[in-house]
């Protein structure tokens, strides 16, 4: 399974839907998209990982890089993920403390709106 990336704007927040495998081969495409979005002035991002089948440390690195970029503009990068096998990787690396991780896109957007 390759990587499929789509994005759309909801309530002023850019939602990135990721499907497939994020690894050393495919992660550069996600990195490019996140950089493009930030360069295009989108600093409030939600990455929906509900259809991600595989995530490795390269993918984690890309997400951390994206987070650093949006924070440089006082922005945010939240994740949507309920899959235990993906959440486990965030726990192992301590990144559950770094990212806001939500059960759904609506919840992620609502949480971000309530912080404003």
């Amino acid at each position: 399974m390759d990587l499929k990336l789509e994005h759309h704007t909801t309530d002023g927040i850019e939602v990135v839907d990721v499907e497939g495998e994020i690894d050393v081969y495919t992660a550069p495409r996600l990195r490019e998209l996140l950089i493009d979005l930030v360069n295009g002035g989108h600093y409030q991002l939600v990455v929906n990982m509900e259809k991600v089948e595989f995530l490795d440390s390269t993918g984690l690195g890309v997400l951390v890089g994206g987070l650093k970029r949006v924070r440089a503009h006082d922005g945010s990068l939240d994740l949507v993920c309920t899959q235990e096998r993906i959440l486990k990787i965030f726990r192992i690396t301590g990144l559950t403390k770094v990212f806001g991780i939500h059960d759904g896109v609506d919840e992620a957007i609502a949480a971000r709106k309530s912080e404003k």
Binding site: D23, V24, F54, D56, T58, L60, V64, T93, G94
Partner: protein
């Protein structure tokens, strides 16, 4: 003798192939289904790291993977041939408690391997480094 041995050119596209082969051999060796995700991820991390150091130090040399499932444990050895690979600190260092709000471990891949495989050994092997990992299989796994 390993059950399955493979070598691949150090390109990111081949890491997925190595993951799939390792998972298939692990399943056939009796590794419980619940652990197959861990095997897949840990082997992917070890191969990704090998590809990275090969591309930096010896892009013409293949990465070697040996999978052995005959005994009570399923063992994976990923060997790189990069003589210049001096950077691996095992066990991996945790994220520094500094001011950086998004501090992450220096080598995320090694942190993932450490969290997934219950038995990991890193050793110098010829010119390069080997990461040896194992999981219960067969009768012991039951």
């Amino acid at each position: 003798m390993a059950t399955v041995e493979m070598t691949f050119t150090p390109l990111p596209a081949h890491v997925r192939t190595a993951r799939l082969v390792a998972t298939a051999v692990a399943r056939r060796s009796g590794v419980p289904e619940a652990l197959l995700d861990e095997v897949r991820l840990a082997v992917g991390e070890a191969c990704s790291r090998a590809v990275e150091v090969h591309r930096e130090h010896c892009p013409a040399e293949p990465v070697r993977v040996a999978l052995t499932g005959a005994g009570e444990r399923f063992e994976v050895v990923v060997t790189n041939a990069a003589a210049g690979d001096e950077g691996m600190a095992w066990p991996p260092k945790p994220a520094a408690d500094g001011q950086d709000p998004v501090a992450v471990p220096a080598e995320l891949g090694l942190a993932v391997i450490a969290g997934l495989a219950d038995d990991v050994q890193v050793s110098r092997n010829g010119d390069g480094l080997s990461i040896r990992m194992s999981w219960p299989s067969g009768a012991l796994a039951g």
